[in-house]
Amino acid sequence: MSVGTSLDKRRQDWERLEVLMNQLAKGKIRGEPGSVSAEISSLYRAACADLSMADQYRLSPDTVAFLHNLVGRAHNTIYRSRRFQYQLWFDVAFREAPRRIFADPCVHLCGLLFFGLFSFTAVLAVSSDIYPDFPMQVLGADHISQMEQMYGDIEFDRSIDDNLAMVAFYIQHNTSIGLECFAYGPLVIPGLYATAYNATFLGTTFGYMARGDTPGGESFLEFVTAHGAFELTAIALAAAAGLRIGSGWLITSGLSRIASLQLQARKALPVMSVSAVLFLLAAFTEGLISPSSLPYVFKAMWGMFSSSLLMYYFIVLGYPTEASNAA
């Protein structure tokens, strides 16, 4: 039998497969999905067989290219991505993620680096006796006057809309700090530098504003109380996620660099997601509670509540149990 005869016969099947796939993609098949998928799969297998026999059938390169494409599309139609599994994701979010974060050396390192430098510079900046010029040297005169003016202008009894521009600025500013720490993380050294730099900058700002005689200092402290816990933790976690990915290609422990990178990236995913959620929570707090006219007690309560929530998540849920050790 010549190629032409068999090709004409086969081509009808291929065209049928194409039509069915297009219908399926457009969601037009509603009536008998079972029979249609059975037909698609048998046509797909036939096309696969045609492709594998291409040499024997003496198909021209044109036809082979067409078949590769057809089989590829049919393959993607049949082996679809799985739907979202809620139970699985709940497990990941509240069992696996906190434990993994608790045990993650990158989180320890970044947490220590970020909060350590933050506290250290805050202590240096807060005392006006030991190093009175420290904030000036770190932040620069321009930034200090800008900040003093900005927080001097906040009036918490105004409506939120009046403070909106400033709030938007700060959400954008803090999120970009987090993104910066995360995005430089895979390069390791720049990531650690970004983390250390931002910790120093933020720590000095907090310390300087807490001196007591700084103009706008009180409103600054009132402003940051509510969202500080979420915000700073989110930045530290973002840095840790970036560093974990960076450690992938640096410390391969026997795998190829790409495989190791993929493994570590998968491990970094919970850290990344938790960090993103914390940024969202921080943004809401920052947008709604921090600039509002609510009494300071409420904001302080919210700050405490958020801190205990974080502690519960990371320590209570994250503490390794025997079950998780065995796993």
Binding site: D55, S60, H68
Partner: protein, 312 residues
Amino acid sequence: MHSEKKIDCSVRVVTPENIEFEYALAGPFHRLPAFLCDLVIRIVIILGIGIALTAASPITSMLSTAFGTVVGLLCYFFFSWFYGIVFETRFNGRTPGKMLFQLRVISADGRPINGIQAALRNFLRVVDLGVPLSIQFFSVDAPPMYLIPTYSIGFVAFYLSPQFQRIGDLAAGTIVVAENQSHKPLIRRPDDDRVYALIELIPPSFAVTNSMARTLGQFMETRGRLHPRRRSEVARHLSAPILKHLGLPQDTGPDLFLCALYARTFMSQEDLSKHWESQQKQATQTEKDSIPPEFSSVAPSDDSFGPTSGMP
């Protein structure tokens, strides 16, 4: 191995049916329009929500002054982080931009991507978007926090990886493939009727091998794009030894001869006999009209068809 893959820009996949097939990899300049398209869609959606919220502010402000801010923030957060993840998980590796430009994200082993892979490659887009360019570069007075993403890290990764993967793709183990709907394969029927006469001269015992069949197919596909002179120049390499082998005259037009071999190999018997009959009829007609059956007059070309083809 890697260099081989890069040259034809395709990736081989073995399916559960134990069939190996190829995907065409999508390069950066195929993916960029899809990315920009998604970006525009996201911006339009966020702007639309912003406008709707502003328009509805007289009503919503009765509920709470912060209502608009909350909804706006939520939408912005959702669309900037989960747009790609949701679409790629739900629609089998395609965002609207990818649908438009017929691209699809799949695992590097050919399987569909899962939620975790979609999340990884979309979260890590932040890394690929670096190194950011500060707006202060253009205007000194601009606030320091607005940065322009340059996608430079992504581009470097593209060119260093054999399968056009950016950092996010590398980490998630995904590739982006092009799924253009290619044209239907056809049997190319030679337009020159002399071919059918020539077929009769090839001995029935002469069998075309598989690799020769493939070569013939390739020749027929490229032939249409070549100048007649170039055609015979290309065809001569194959036609000359075969003509010699079969003992046919060496001055048979190489292009014509390959067309005949192709038709003999690829066209069905009925198809061939149909053409053959119609040609016979024409030939008898031309004889009646007492015009000498000179093939060179049918289609003036540089091919000389040779004396043997002066039949029937």
